[in-house]
Symmetry: C2
């Protein structure tokens, strides 16, 4: 039969970018295009011990249905941890556990947006979130990024021009893909604009605990007096992504609706996975583990930047990120991004072209995103050498 | 601030039924309202062994990001198992792994339905699926059930009257909540009507492997020559529900879109959980395990029916199910369902009122749903004695 699909799913078209991403998983490819945390950052020994304990002592609880909100002990632990280590969360806020932070984007859009509503986002931004918003048939309005975060004047213009905007989506720490960190002043300004225009903010902070330079900045949620900020977090980068455990801290009324929305999506996040995280938080030193991840990531980031400087120094421009997983490099006008990516793939190096992260249809990014947590140091070394050669060849013409 | 929620989430209102369900989780309550598989059916020893093996020998694979489609070895195993044991799946079909079967309902609606489209469903039907459809702002059209399944004339009338119907949702085996099994003739008739009116069928089969009497019947998917049937399955009832591993077998073009939809929902189902199921299927005797579950469920179902006959024999009517988790009892006119449920709760017995499963706004069910897999035999015994007393008192008036 001929299948007719919904408008929302039809809007998510496969594209040239997907082909490049697909190519990046070919064996032998140097995966600078990936976005995986470094596997040596996973607390494998702890997980092994905890899982034995769970199946030995609490098998029924780990295997039976749970409530949609999440494993109560984990909710409490996350709530307390956000309160003490991040200074966020009031009596009027609630936490629920989600199937990765991706589900927070999904549930936020589900409960706040009708079709035709608008979501305002930094451009470029994380493709997974953008496609999630698009899958609800909302219109995206992009606001450009400066070296210290979102352009505030442009944001206010967007808020004025988009009365149907339901929320502002931002990644304040080491933004994906740009690597940019929003300054404290801009965090406050974004919050104040949300108050002025009566909007909600979706603050996505997957990378916050991977800071390798500079000082931690207060989250936008920490300024939230009016119950306008939904804060999305995840254990993907501090523990392991394959377990798919994230969380949301938001105004209780909104989180209650998200719970209703989650029930119809996947009933609840797997119990074993939630118990694993809870027992890890309870019985192991997370701060020590995070410090180890930071050491590992600092070394890798420094190495990547050194190699960019050596091989692409006169050619690309980048803002050195203070954490996260990515470095975003602007290419000069005479080097076409797609051609560059294709040339790199031919020589077994995969990088993501900037177009993958476009919000507005007319955004132009002549840039590439490089990841420093998936490939080995040796692979990065070799990969950058090849990128340098590709750029030099293209730059000559 | 005052929150304004989306129309779709606002349509899912809390109700009197939820209060009854909430009351059913109070400690000391006899939980005939629940829908949990029996915990003694979980293969705990196997799961313990497998999890040790996974974290010992394949920790990175279990903890790193996976692809949206699912763990390739599990996809292959499920595909083969459906092919050999259920005789379903063609070259033009594909399987992906989902976060429980609930996600199959979600993804099917996501890829097929625009707002205002129609889903045709048996009435009564599973509240989790109905609310999932409602969360996409689709209109539900209910078709009544007879003792051998959906009313075929009524289904054709609905298909004629609802040109915007996108799919027909059915649970052919031991339907939730009615316990009814659709006859082979009706399965063929439903398929033929789908062909005649050019519709898709969503065949939900969570309970198929819990048959305790009678003979297995071919699924609707087994008749699918035209690529019209999406088949949803789960490991919740044969292995454990808390792991949240389900799957869909459907036309490849539809499943490809579901994959795109899943990527924006939760990226992928947790890797450890998928590997657990895969290794269980590979190294343990599933058929033997299923046979054990059937023995356990047969004993419980027989006991519940015996006690219904003894305590409510002259009062309620029911069709004895051949599997599943539930028995659906019609109350006489003079006993009001909600009053009955409230009276039972006052005496610490929780049952679900039939209204919870209503599809059309004007459907009237004066009935209750009883579960026989969650409470112990002793609790069922005591629970039915109390229900008998409640019914006798109400019947007198």
């Amino acid at each position: 039969m001929d299948y007719i699909f919904s408008d929302k799913i039809s809007s998510l078209q496969p594209s040239a970018i997907r082909e490049i991403l697909k190519a990046s998983s070919v064996p032998g490819m140097i995966a600078l295009a990936a976005g995986n945390p470094a596997p040596d950052s996973f607390p494998i020994d702890a997980i092994k011990e905890i899982s034995q304990d769970i199946f030995e002592n609490h098998p029924i609880e780990a295997l039976q249905y749970g409530v949609t909100e999440g494993y109560p002990a984990l909710i409490k632990r996350v709530t307390d941890w956000l309160h003490t280590s991040k200074k966020i969360g009031k009596d009027t806020d609630s936490v629920i556990i989600t199937s990765g932070a991706q589900q927070v984007m999904d549930l936020t859009t589900k409960v706040l947006c009708n079709e035709g509503d608008v979501v305002i986002a930094e451009t470029p931004s994380f493709i997974g979130s953008l496609n999630c918003f698009r899958a609800y048939n909302v219109k995206l309005r992009g606001v450009s990024l400066e070296d210290d975060g979102i352009n505030i004047e442009e944001l206010e213009k967007a808020l004025k021009e988009e009365p149907k905007a339901k929320f502002i989506y931002v990644i304040p720490n080491f933004q994906n893909p740009s690597g940019i960190t929003m300054s404290v002043e801009k965090r406050k300004a974004v919050y104040n604009l949300a108050c002025k225009y009566n909007k909600i903010i979706l603050e996505d902070n997957p990378y916050g605990d991977t800071r390798v330079a500079g000082e931690d900045l207060p989250s936008i949620k920490s300024f939230d007096e009016e119950g306008r900020v939904i804060y999305a977090g995840t254990f993907s980068k501090v523990m392991a992504p394959g377990i798919r455990v994230g969380y949301v801290l938001g105004p209780s009324a909104v989180v209650a609706k998200m719970t209703v929305g989650k029930q119809t999506s996947d009933v609840h996040t797997p119990m074993f996975n939630q118990m694993l995280v809870e027992k890890w938080m309870a019985n192991y030193d997370i701060d020590e583990h995070i410090a180890k991840i930071k050491d590992c990531y600092r070394e890798r980031l420094n190495f990547l930047c050194k190699r960019i400087d050596e091989e692409l120094g006169g050619i690309v421009k980048y803002v050195r990120p203070e954490g996260g997983l990515f470095v975003w490099c602007d290419l000069p006008e005479n080097i076409d991004m797609i051609e560059f990516c294709n040339n790199a793939i031919k020589r077994n190096v995969a990088v993501v072209p900037g177009t993958a992260f476009v919000v507005n249809d007319d955004d132009k990014f002549n840039a590439i995103r490089l990841n420093f947590t998936t490939p080995t140091i040796e692979a990065m070394d070799k990969g950058l050498k090849i990128l340098g050669e590709v750029a030099a060849e293209m730059n000559k013409r």
